[in-house]
Amino acid sequence: MPELLPPASPRRHLLSIGDVARDDVERILDTASSLSVSLEREVKRLPTLRGRTVVHLFYEASTRTLSSFELAAKRLSADVMSLRSAGSSVDKGESLRDTATTLAAYDPDVLVVRHAAAGAAAFVAECVEAHVVNAGDGKHQHPTQALLDLYTIRHALGRLEGVHVAIVGDVLHSRVARSLVQALGLVGAETTLVGPPTLLPRDLASALRCEASTSIEAIGSADVVYVLRMQRERMLSGEALVPSLREYSALYGITPERVRPGQVVMHPGPMNRGVEIDARVADSGASLVAQQVRSGLVVRMAVLYDLLTVPTAAPVVEREHAGMT
């Protein structure tokens, strides 16, 4: 006989950092800390989500996010299925709604969605009964990345309150930047966006209540230099946002000379070495890149755990508990 599952909680989703409260963030980070202990054991698998199903629906290429989510679910003993748009019925023109409802017919507990359009995860959340986790929607949000970055900063610096983070590079195309600025604001940290004028949306800093600068000098006072990937694939040809990667690198590339002692450097990956980050920085003791990947695993475990076991919390969408006795 399988053990009884805890009663289903009201449907909650993790769609945007804008929907969550500071308490939620702190609870998830604390859960991640506890879970990290389990990963140091010889047997790393926990029985917590045995009998639960986590489905990944990825419409965009992803290595680290998908593998991180898959491993997180497996470490918690959930059943895992991953569907990539390439080679699936999506290639045959199936709509997002139809794909989502088809997968929902398997009664997954969590649906993790990555898609090129803003609001896609929220759209899926309207179509299905499962908890939905946004693994990146267009240039809008990537909330688990923001949470793992907070976790990494807290781990490295011992605090979040009052920490100053400079986010450098292609802010325009970055869902990582949009969700991270909001998350840093929630926990009392400060952000400065740094990049060439064409990659800094005009109204973003005021909308997100942070600072912005087009000068690389602005990273000087930061505790954390967060380097964004130059998203060449998102730049429409002929858009001429920067004259060349060479000039971008000369003006904004993070080189050893630009990193002050005591600063730490982060990057969400995958890195373009020699473009936005110098290999000597990426491989230095100041780099937290590998730690970010480790954080990603425990934070995603914590998110799955939180959605499926914490009875009520802030971003709640009440639904009927059909069939529960």
Partner: protein, 423 residues
């Protein structure tokens, strides 16, 4: 030239508070219509109903030919009748494009068997709306094209537009312009501002419209030929238009109900039914549009009724096509949002929905006088109703007003002497 289903004219009597601002009438009257013509006008008892010249919509997408699943001449004109319209103008961005006399003539013939309200057709400025060669404007005008437009897309080439203005003198019909500088709007899904920045949705700046407005006003000035600016959205466009008109440039303009009522804050919902081209802009833009409609800088309200199939709008915002329906809600929403709160006079709204657009395109102006063809709308200003999908006569339901309660309702529409809606 307008085309309508063949049929017999009606005889009826209507009574109410007659508001015909263009004729300076505002009193309770009884109107007798005999065989489609206003035969007598007499004083009547006070009434809660308003009787006004029926509306004219200069900007409707009937989606025919090519997308009859979204709208047909029959369904689109039935929607127009329910919205109080006695005439509409259909856009040529169909499949095939209305860019030749044979296509136009087939549509006109179909309208004489299907159109519930008189319908005029615009033809394309350029062949296939490709922006490269002029359509045969003189022949199209002779076949009844009311005006020329490449609506749905801009005339990107200034030289082609200049030639259209010059050559178009032979056709003697106005050019109606969709103002969009395509390299600035490329990849844009929402107004460039705080909302699009925060959502990470591709920005579509106001300058994409106002630059083209400035260019086309300069060309109209140069050639001394009229231009009509469609669906204005930005304050900078309104400012440019006001300056040009003061300098004597023969320019007219229209504005949609959604640009008069909504701002880009609505886009935070990422509801595909608030995605339009041009996009919803900031509150300063919205206020400038209302001011311009009030002072007559903008002559007309146009719905830009743009039906879309359900499955095409049932997708994430950035993947959805631009456009919303509007024929069946235009008066009610503008009454609810602008007239009732005291922002716009009822008389002004009625004029901008009727004589204003008719005058731009040289259509017969709906009038309330003995001997005039009956083009009348009866309005119940006290009615409240909820906008529902089931209530639409349009084949499509991509309205930004679904689920909302509106005040005032069209009770009866008489178009070209026939009762086309209500009793």
């Amino acid at each position: 030239m307008l085309h309508v289903r063949n049929g017999r004219a009606d005889s009826l009597e209507l009574a109410g508070r007659v508001v015909a601002p263009a004729q300076g009438i505002d009193e309770c009257l009884r109107i007798e219509v005999r065989d489609g013509v206003i035969a007598a006008i007499e004083p009547a008892e006070a009434s809660s109903l308003v009787l006004a010249p029926a509306f004219v919509d200069p900007h409707v997408h009937l989606r025919t030919p090519g997308r009859e699943d979204e709208e047909t001449i029959a369904s689109g004109t039935a929607a127009a009748a329910a919205g109080g319209y006695c005439a509409i103008l259909a856009m040529p961005n169909t499949d095939p494009v209305v860019d030749s006399a044979p296509v136009l003539e087939v549509l006109a013939a179909r309208a004489t068997s299907e159109a519930a309200v008189p319908t005029g057709f615009m033809a394309a400025i350029s062949k296939g709306q490709h922006g490269e060669e002029l359509s045969e404007m003189a022949e199209l005008a002779a076949s009844g094209a009311v005006a020329f437009t490449d609506d749905g897309r801009p005339v990107a080439s200034a030289a082609l537009l200049r030639n259209a203005l010059r050559y178009g003198a032979l056709a003697g019909r106005p050019l109606a312009l969709h103002e969009e500088e395509p390299t600035l709007s490329r990849g844009g899904h929402a107004h460039e501002g705080a909302v699009s920045a925060e959502l990470g949705v591709g920005p579509y700046p106001s300058a994409a419209e106002s630059l083209m407005v400035e260019r086309d006003l300069a060309l109209a000035h140069l050639e001394e030929r009229p231009v009509h600016l469609m669906h204005l959205s930005a304050k900078e466009s309104v400012d440019a238009l006001r300056r040009a008109r003061a300098a004597g440039v023969p320019a007219t303009a229209e504005v949609t109900p959604h640009h008069l009522c909504l701002t880009d804050e609505a886009v935070r919902s990422l509801d595909p039914n608030v995605k339009m081209n041009p996009p919803l802009r900031a509150d300063a833009d919205r206020a400038a549009l209302v001011d311009a409609l009030r002072d007559g800088t903008i002559d007309a309200v146009a719905t830009d009724h743009a039906p879309h199939a359900r499955h095409e709008k049932d997708v994430p915002f950035e993947e959805a096509p631009f456009g919303v329906t509007g024929l069946e809600t235009s008066f009610s929403v503008l009454f609810t949002r602008l007239v009732e709160p005291g922002i716009l006079l009822l008389e002004t709204l009625l004029e901008r929905m009727s004589q204003g657009p008719a005058r731009i395109f040289g259509l017969p102006e709906p009038r309330i006088e003995v001997g005039a063809r009956a083009n009348l709308v009866v309005l119940d200003l006290d009615a409240e109703w909820e906008v529902t999908e089931a209530g639409f006569r349009s084949r499509s339901a991509n309205s930004w007003l679904l689920g909302q309660t509106l005040r005032s309702r069209v009770v009866t529409t008489v178009a070209d002497g026939r009762v086309v809606f209500g009793a």
